[in-house]
Symmetry: C2
Subunit: 266 residues, 2 copies
């Protein structure tokens, strides 16, 4: 795979995040000239703009000189932490939307149509007619397990599709185990984790960080630890930010000065 710079993306090995961190500690990060850029995205599952933002981010990363060296971490954000694990909709999505915004059902239908068209433009098939509202806390716990297992990207994608396009009840632990298995996790591993408390603190920590960041809406992108902002921006905006952060992460030479070497001080 080649980006616009014509640099083969696999020319350099992509080290693990842990190895990278350790190397950074000793400057070897600079020495190897392997550059890596971390993008953290706070987002939810029950969130059409998060799915759109994911597609646009992926498109922006694909335009980078070495897409494999852009590391994406999905952070937890619950739009409705008080939602019951699963609920029978009873009413249609348009009716629920109309109640929330105080509009007519016809107006809500128009909003849904617009959002569906936005998704379609990015290749997504939103099926608001079949969406099953539910709590996403356990989904975020599974995403943290997936992060540990190196399968977070696949699991995030699977859960978004299940919720937004397939009418799956992603608050149901058994549904989660099945979806995570399709994305490469061991379903028993998922069941064990969901029965316990382990990754709950990781989800809470993401959410605490979101509060410190002042995040009001998602997706929220944090690129290279310093470029941050909310929203499913056009791909071009995300690409420009990635390119800038990438340049800043590139090794650059300080003009030489006088040194002492093995043969003396010159």
């Amino acid at each position: 795979m080649r980006g616009p710079g014509g640099v083969p993306s696999r020319l350099v090995a992509s080290p693990s995040a842990g190895a990278l961190r350790e190397d950074r500690e000793r400057g070897a990060y600079y020495a190897r000239r392997v550059r890596a850029l971390r993008v953290e995205v706070w987002s939810d599952i029950a969130c059409p703009w998060c799915y759109v933002g994911k597609r646009r981010l992926e498109a922006a990363i694909a335009r980078m000189p070495a897409p494999a060296d852009v590391e994406v971490v999905w952070r937890a954000f619950e739009l409705d932490p008080s939602a019951p694990r699963a609920q029978s909709p009873g009413t249609s999505y348009a009716e629920r939307l109309a109640r929330k915004y105080g509009t007519s059902v016809a107006e809500a239908d128009a909003m849904i149509e617009r959002m569906t068209a936005v998704g379609a433009a990015d290749g997504l098939s939103f099926r608001f007619d079949s969406v099953k509202p539910g709590n996403t806390f356990d989904a975020h716990r599974v995403l943290h397990l997936a992060l540990e297992r190196g399968a977070q990207a696949a699991v995030k994608e699977r859960l978004l599709r299940a919720y937004m396009s397939e009418g799956e009840s992603i608050g149901d632990p058994e549904v989660l185990a099945g979806l995570a298995a399709e994305a490469g996790l061991d379903p028993d591993d998922v069941r064990r984790v969901l029965a316990g408390d382990a990754p709950a603190q990781d989800v809470r920590a993401d959410e605490a960080a979101a509060r410190r960041l002042g995040i009001q809406g998602v997706p929220f992108f944090l690129v290279g630890g310093v470029h941050g902002g909310s929203g499913a921006q056009p791909g071009e905006v995300l690409y420009q930010v990635l390119a800038k952060a990438w340049a800043e992460a590139s090794p650059r030479a300080i003009p030489d000065g006088a040194v002492c070497g093995p043969d003396g001080c010159c």
Copy 2:
């Protein structure tokens, strides 16, 4: 203390390196708008340009908006790893220099005079007449202990002064224990560490990183993990590099896009 930007340097608490690292992991680094810049310097003790470079770096850091948020880590580099722990000079510094460079003693004396003048211009009193050559491996082990104890800056300064200005034998473990104690370490702690093997691997890891960086002479500065180069540059050069790296480490906003929030997707 105020830098040229007029920003009080203590306005923001300076968190521990560990806390900072953990916060960075979750984007809280961005949220708090506490910026920190790491400068790694590979250098030796028996190295006049390293001492000059240290003074110039300190002066450059003092000009930064928040000097307390610039973290300096001293990395090990041995200019002469095969040097005996201690040796009786026998000959004068000028004679040793003349032999090394194949010059006359008078020419070597002139070099020493120039280096002495360079040091004096930065407030350093080089006493080449009293320098006691020796091995610096143990000094680097003590510096790694000092790094763990949060006293590395003080110990580095004390060892450089002892070697370059006071004619101390810094290859001698007892001398090292005494000097480190003056700089705030527990001398028994130093003796215990020098009797064992513990920080040797840290020294070796610094040196391995130096090889990967292609370092031929010291000091070598690595600023923010990406700006790297050898030599005791003029303070202005170092300041410009610090200022650039600092700007790159500052939080910046991505233009807003469409989001989902607690009240819906707008």
